[in-house]
């Protein structure tokens, strides 16, 4: 923000008030974020299809745009935008229209607190991590809203499952990051990344430093798959059971919102995992520090996204009650154990943050 503000100030001169500079910087930042998000949806759609193709011994898209069908996702997006926007006659129109926006908003807002580089964060909040989890919970409301408003029983099933699942998995997701917060002594996302500087052995995932953080990473990763509603935890969609879940009735642009949000969310949770456990924009080795931090950060995020896709295209889906069982009876206790264990470990080894 500071860089951006300085840039705007230097461009328009001193004639602009501080508030004006702030507002224009914020608008610029939001635009960049939205573009990045839309881009990542397009890129990850293509990537998902290529990864799935690779795993399933086929090619995936190969035609559009000549080289490995790189333009397929763009073509799909254009097609989706050109589709007729259908609102079911018996649907609750206001909620039906507002649902997808809320879903998109939930995933978009959280991007504000992601630190891309040392001086490159849209909102350097002291409560950054807390803020991310707080706003991303809005997605649940959007899903429940659109599933309910569709006036379709399958959509309602999907929404009910989705709400139950996401509310539950918020808990291990947040609990898994608490040991990191304890280690850093701050909820500020930038502080968390800075605390992991100096090479990959200083990242929080390193089991030598603190084994409980290592376990917490896997808790976070599993919970994040469930939080993004992807296989094997894609309960709200379960295309073989619930047709298409909460977005059964959606078409065109509104469907694109869900689509966009799914991949934005996927990248977001991967970025958070990279930020919290894998050193964010810090280079894995000191001699790689000449590469800009955001490149490291994005590479880490994309690798986690790949891992996520790998899991999705390999495993069958769990049943909805098994999913809840896994959350409440396995993951939450382990996450809590991690919190307690990490605290004790830090006390014993004297790592506790000042």
């Amino acid at each position: 923000m500071e860089i951006l503000s300085d840039l705007i100030r230097s461009m328009v001169g001193e004639g602009m008030s501080d508030q004006g500079v702030f507002i224009s910087a914020a608008v610029t930042m939001a635009t960049i974020m939205f573009i990045v998000m839309a881009m990542c949806a397009i890129i990850f759609t293509w990537m998902e299809r290529k990864v799935a193709g690779f795993i399933q011994s086929r090619y995936g898209p190969m035609r559009t745009g000549r080289w490995h069908g790189w333009a397929q996702a763009i073509a799909d997006m254009l097609k989706i935008l050109g589709k007729e926007d259908i609102i079911p006659a018996e649907a609750n129109k206001a909620l039906f229209m507002f649902g997808p926006i809320l879903v998109l908003l939930g995933s978009l807002l959280a991007w504000a607190a992601i630190p891309w580089d040392r001086n490159f964060v849209a909102a350097d909040l002291d409560l950054g991590l807390f803020y991310i989890f707080a706003v991303s919970s809005m997605v649940i409301i959007g899903i429940l809203m659109s599933g309910w408003a569709s006036n379709n029983k399958w959509a309602l099933y999907g929404a009910a499952r989705g709400a139950a699942q996401m509310v539950s998995y918020e808990i291990p997701l947040a609990l898994a990051t608490i040991p990191v917060v304890m280690a850093t002594g701050s909820l500020n996302t930038q502080d968390i990344v800075i605390a992991q500087g100096g090479g990959m052995w200083n990242w929080y995932i390193n089991p030598v430093n603190n084994p409980f953080l290592f376990v917490a990473f896997f808790m976070y990763f599993i919970a994040s798959i469930a939080e993004t509603n992807r296989g094997p935890f894609d309960m709200p969609e379960t295309e073989s059971e619930l047709v298409a879940g909460y977005h059964t009735e959606y078409t065109g642009m509104r469907f694109a919102f869900f689509f966009l949000s799914e991949y934005a969310n996927l990248f977001l949770v991967s970025l958070i995992a990279a930020m919290v456990f894998l050193g964010g924009w810090q280079a894995p080795f000191p001699f790689l520090e000449f590469i800009p931090g955001w490149v490291h950060f994005i590479i880490k995020g994309v690798m986690l996204v790949f891992l996520n896709m790998w899991v999705r295209w390999t495993l069958p889906r769990v049943r909805v009650d098994q999913l809840m069982h896994l959350c409440w009876k396995v993951m939450i206790p382990i996450s809590l154990l991690c919190v307690v264990g990490a605290g004790i470990w830090m006390m014993v080894t004297g790592q506790a943050a000042a």
Binding site: K153, P316, D321, Q322
Partner: protein
């Protein structure tokens, strides 16, 4: 891990009033005919209480063509093409069932070579059908990748069958009295042997590692949709569904037709390896193991295939069947496929009733489906491996 939910009976808490104020009622849910998990155009009317199914009512007929009526209007040989359309995933088995039934009335001496060719093609078809069963069952469980793998192997079978019959999906290969074409002269037998060796040694292991013994897969299927032997008998279940419940019954062994008595193979049955005998996993695993047995049969049939004619009738003339009536059953990939043919001595059947295995197997869903979760119902339908072309006929 115990999931008590599936044991809630039909008179669970949904039918009662809570605290006398909140009234809850069952939700009617229309599953199909356009639904990804109903394997075609099956429609299930569900009465659900949340995730628990309280009543299942299958609605059929979306693919009904009244082939039995058509059988009364076309001659015996012409009707073979309609059998292709019954179980379109294993048409060779359907061909085989029909020609066996007609030959039983005709009393024609079918050449040994034709019988061997029939067995080979029917078993290849059975493998293809079972591969689809595994693939779509995996898909019902949310595993996408086995689908593509199984279809890849099925493609090989379709290529092989195309080379011998000219058709990829609907073959019209067998006629009463033999088969239409001999083995093509391009090393067909060798390619078949190569394929089944590859399937036996490599691919089945892959499927087992990827899907069958996957922890999530087992958790989803063990103790789900348990079909007792008594119910299986009562509802007329046959084939892998009956064998999944632990009954060692196979028409190829117990009521031999064609030349199956010459071959040495086992009948895999459900053993309750990961749960109760007769659960969804058992039915699934029976199919995987049947693929191995089919490979064994194919190998023996090819190795002992005699030289000689492959057709005992004149292909251009319609066959005449002496008057009489007989019920003939064969083991199709889905179970016991029977034809009850009444002949009046002419060129067309007076009556041709088809007893299709999926039709009888599906009926049991009215009993076993009750009290399960919606997800488990999907698993159960998948494990029955129904084909709607055969149910609606």
């Amino acid at each position: 891990m115990d999931y008590e939910l599936k044991n809630i009976g039909t008179h669970g808490w949904a039918s009662q009033d809570h605290a006398g104020e909140i009234k809850s009622e069952l939700m009617e849910l229309n599953m199909g005919p356009q639904h990804p998990a109903t394997h075609g155009v099956l429609r299930l009317l569900l009465e659900t209480d949340g995730e628990i199914v309280h009543k299942v009512t299958p609605v059929l007929g979306y693919l009904h063509r009244c082939a039995e009526k058509i059988a009364e209007g076309v001659n015996y040989k012409q009707w073979v093409v309609y059998t292709d359309r019954f179980d379109y995933l294993a048409p060779m088995c359907c061909n085989h069932a029909y020609v066996t039934a007609v030959e039983k009335l005709m009393d024609v001496e079918v050449p040994e070579r034709a019988e061997h060719l029939r067995v080979v093609t029917a078993e290849l078809s059975r493998i293809a059908s079972h591969l689809i069963a595994l693939a779509t069952f995996g898909l019902d469980m949310g595993a996408w990748t086995p689908l593509l793998y199984c279809f890849r192997e099925r493609e090989e079978i379709l290529n092989l069958l195309e080379r011998i019959s000219g058709g990829r999906m609907l073959y019209n290969y067998m006629v009463p009295g033999g088969v239409r074409y001999d083995v093509p002269r391009d090393n067909w037998e060798h390619d078949v042997l190569e394929f089944i060796t590859m399937l036996e040694t490599k691919k089945l292991k892959d499927y087992n590692q990827l899907l069958s013994y996957n922890k999530i897969f087992i958790e989803r299927l063990s103790d789900v949709g348990v079909l007792s032997v008594q119910d299986a008998y009562d509802y007329g279940c046959t084939g892998p569904v009956l064998r999944g419940s632990g009954v060692k019954f196979d028409c190829r062994k117990d009521d031999p037709y064609s030349v199956y008595h010459k071959f040495d193979f086992d009948i895999p049955v459900g053993t309750g390896e990961v749960g109760t005998v007769g659960d969804c996993w058992d039915r699934y695993m029976v199919r995987v193991r049947e693929i191995e047995q089919s490979c064994r049969i194919i190998r023996q049939a090819l190795e002992t295939m005699p030289e000689g004619p492959y057709l005992a009738i004149e292909l251009k003339k319609p066959v005449k069947v002496p008057a009489g009536a007989a019920y003939t059953r064969t083991e199709s990939s889905k179970g016991e496929l029977g034809h009850y043919i009444i002949s009046d001595g002419g060129q067309t059947a007076f009556r041709n009733k088809v007893r299709s295995p999926s039709f009888c197997n599906l009926q049991v869903i009215e009993k076993v489906g009750v009290g399960q979760m919606v997800s488990d119902l999907v698993a159960f339908v998948g494990s029955l491996d129904i084909v709607l072309g055969e149910i609606d006929r």
